[in-house]
Symmetry: D2
Subunit: 339 residues, 4 copies
């Protein structure tokens, strides 16, 4: 950490800051410039974190030098993490396609959706049984009945199941059916849920909060690591900006930025980012081209009949056509889909 003192900071103020640091075991290193003095601080991160230096007299600002996350960083592990779910891999050279409807509705719907995504080449299947909805009056998901339909679909397709968990009290029932847990954008900083998800040992898809920075996403992943798991898939799904034409603004730069900062796989959800089916194919292709390790796409056998998020769901044939281009660009850039 570097502490920038004010131009008119007194010697006594500088001494006071240094004293406070040394009292808690930190090392201070003075650098006296023409106009301003800068104090470098070395020592234990948590100790530094707890010292309210900004508040001390004469201090202008405090600048962090060390990254606040540790186990998820490239500095901690330089090689890419590859997650293997029953032979279905994600990370490194393995590009994953997670597809399926927004919400699980009926066995028949899941069967049709499963057949369509499997046939087109998806490597994981998704579907929501617990749905976080902005309105308490909207359909909230089928719960365990939906999880059973997901399990049936897995039997038919052989594809592992990714599904959301919203409440710590539902962790056990979701784990009884799911292969991969999903933590949604609204729960990215639900720290109890992150810790509990980490304890299950299941891989976790962690969606970026729509109002959260890239650094906060990495800190949220660090909570899952603290819980006990390192099999984390980070998912960019759009952030809130002033542009009203799309539901969120897909932060495509987050892909190369994250790939530099962390060894974890990074995927993109173009369906929730845009909220519109016709924007999904160009955004999915952009994600592949920008170096993502996978995409998560909403596919419904009949979007016009969907119980939720119909407007952003692709139908089977559109998804199949998109898959051809995803595959071609992925291969061009040295990736293979799935295994």
């Amino acid at each position: 950490m570097m502490v920038i003192m004010k131009k008119d900071a007194t010697a006594a103020q500088i001494d006071h800051v240094v004293d406070r640091m040394e009292k808690v075991g930190l090392k201070a290193h003075l650098s006296v410039g023409e106009y301003k003095t800068v104090i470098g601080v070395i020592g234990d991160r948590e100790v530094i974190d707890r010292l309210p230096i900004e508040v001390m007299p004469g201090v202008e600002s405090v600048i962090a030098i060390m990254k606040p996350y540790k186990f998820v960083s490239r500095e901690f592990q330089s090689e890419n993490t590859v997650i293997d779910v029953g032979g279905h891999k994600i990370g490194g050279s393995h590009f994953a396609v997670i597809a399926g409807p927004c919400s699980v509705e009926t066995d028949e719907q899941m069967e049709r959706a499963g057949a369509a995504v499997k046939e087109a080449g998806a490597t994981f299947m998704r579907g929501g049984a617990f749905k976080p909805r902005t309105s308490p009056y909207s359909f909230q998901g089928l719960g365990e009945a939906g999880l059973k339909m997901l399990a049936h679909a897995r039997e038919k397709t052989g594809l592992p199941i990714v599904t959301e968990v919203m409440d710590v009290r539902d962790i056990d029932v979701v784990c009884a059916y799911a292969d991969v847990l999903q933590i949604g954008t609204r729960n990215m900083q639900n720290y109890s849920l992150l810790l509990e998800a980490g304890k299950t040992g299941k891989p976790v898809v962690l969606k970026r909060g729509f109002g959260s920075t890239i650094e906060e996403l990495l800190m949220a992943a660090e909570y899952i690591v603290k819980g006990g798991s390192r099999e984390i898939i980070l998912c960019e799904r759009g952030i809130r900006t002033f542009e009203p034409m799309t539901r969120s603004t897909l932060d495509i730069s987050a892909i190369p930025v994250l790939k530099k900062l962390t060894h974890l796989p990074v995927i993109v959800d173009p369906s929730h980012a845009s909220g519109k089916a016709d924007l999904v194919p160009p955004l999915a292709l952009a994600a592949v081209a920008a170096g993502a390790d996978g995409v998560m796409i909403e596919v419904h056998p009949a979007p016009e009949e969907a119980w939720c998020d119909g407007p952003q769901s692709l139908d089977g044939p559109t998804f199949a056509a998109l898959m051809k281009n995803i595959k071609a660009i992925a291969e061009l850039l040295g990736r293979s889909i799935g295994e």
Copy 2:
């Protein structure tokens, strides 16, 4: 709801949209313009919500006319909600000042903080026993031991206690000590927590998510109503913007906007919004002047020793000086502090 058809929408496409509406019991009303046809839809909100009209051929866009929230709206209840916590009121002409340290640290700290805020005229006391921290390596709060210290402080000061609950599993223990529950910015869309908080019957301070719109804040309050409580205090605490000089941008306009849309009391937290102690007094006064029903301010007997958020905490004398101006402006605008 109004459905705007594309300029080149065919008669068959228009008929199809109308048919789909009528099949589920909605009434459609055609308005044929020179360039475009607009279809008005009347009927049950949840039925409308479930129909993916945007996805139907020929549809350009869909515009909601009805507000998506109900019980919290001014249209539902025109007079201001006044919440009374053991004689300490908030709402209507009653302006509330909730003050205290970010985190509960020791009995001695709480005693000093309590004396300072009581003496200066605060009407509620705050303090965190469960702390949502961005980093898993930061201090996470004292838990139940902290709640006990809060209860001791209440005994000494007579001020009701506001404290955060982060996990549905902690609801009971928090309710055993707290007078008012607080739901933090990161949990504004933790729907399980909202429902459970609503079931307790305790008043709830609901903080706006830093990436959430005013409408989403009202929808979150609607979840608490669904849980069972109507004693909700909405709290503006800053939103994420591109401006880096402050931790968040306090959305001061949210106060008059919310006062127009809802009958619930609206308060402001200038401490978390700005993250800097010297910005707290001007922002607190701005909140009073803009018509807020209260403020929530971090006060610590010794900010330089605080275990968390020291840089944004006021010390006792600064808080006391601020209280004089808060009181003067509040009275000028027809409010009284507390009772």
Copy 3:
């Protein structure tokens, strides 16, 4: 336009709104719902625009139905505009690559840059002679001397020149040398400059303001049309958001959104969006995959020696490697580079 009346609007208030509309020649169309009345308005756009309906008693809100832009819209012209600059095309199936240094520095630098970008396959050359700099103390460009160096580089490479004009008083001198004018992000709503640029008859690259919406970008283009030119190339270059890891957030969704709304070519500037050289290749490829009609990339023969924007400039070999992937993805999606 649709006018939503308040739930408790009186008949007199509704009549007043209708009267005011009819007095200026507009047609009003009432739609009386169970809860609210909606008034549809038909008539001349500029007349509607001038009537302050929101301010009339009983009005809740006003919703525009018609798009505010005209000549640049797909509804006005369905086929893609293709711009031809001496045989170098952009738009439709023609993908353009505009490359070169941020600022023109010396004849030798331009010669080396020109050779590198030409060799790698760029189809236009860029370079700044008038530089809009945040600080008045930064290098502001060489002015006409720089334009002459650009012209020399054109002689050597045969590539048309794209360069920025910042001041209406410089239009003539810039036109004496440039093939394509560029209007920068800070000047997107400098309406005098837009009108004057339109009068020159030269094609114009119009960069999106970093704080401007897609609709405002289209309205700015409409000013150029009003000036007299329809040869406009829209350029997405990132918008301001809360994410600090990149200088701006590239709004990749703007590409498919714009391609739907307008017939004009849409290009992307990944260099200014990210501000970091290592992010330029993934973002450039994402732009191609998302359907852009071109990219604009900063290339410098020796980024470490650049007078401005060195950190975001690619060197020759990195640019050449990137061009191979750009070409491959463009061709995969049915585009050819240049002619």
Copy 4:
């Protein structure tokens, strides 16, 4: 400036950075931490600015220590700038109220508006003769005819005139009539206009760009200083955020932040920030309470008849009522209105 080297930066890379600095006359100061080396740089700001250090091998990031602005900073001048326009003062203890219609329409309108704002206690009069409009099809202002009407209104009221200039070619004609020039939000980074406005010697109201940071606002002011004038009034008028309920989000924190960083007067425009008349009074009072040196408010004798921005204009009686509260809060905080 501080240069943070990567964890694995080699000694040769560190030497190279230091060499490059020393070659251009800068002093480098090494600070070798346990994990990372930090290089402090001292020397001429413009020389530092021109060296692309981020691009050098082994460099992780570069952090500025010195503020990029100079003459407008509190460090350069600690006492508040007070601007005196014919006895009407702004800055220090002098609170200014600038009021009048959005656009000048007729002599009669200006006379009525002038009488109303003078009577209520405004200290400056505003009105637009050159109007920057998002649409080329909207009313663009009366030009010189409007300036003449402004001058007539000044004769009647004795209030100095503030009016916008949008084009460097209009500077002379605007200066022939105006007392104070206004540079609008869209032109905050129109550097030619800033320099020319600075040359006139007239005081300038500089509005913050709706997509610009506080630091950029100060840099824009620095351009006016470079042009030749130090009589600059900074104006916060709202920034773009994701919240759609208001046209922009008034950044109320910008007031205390600016008052700390600069000696220039800071005013607030609640009319353009919110876009809605009923939000203007609470926001204006918030600005006074937060320590602004003035407010700029749109007042129209008949908002329902206004040629532009009717929905955000106050009528005379509403403005007069607001003035009473503005005056009371200003005086409470030690300010006097006008002289």
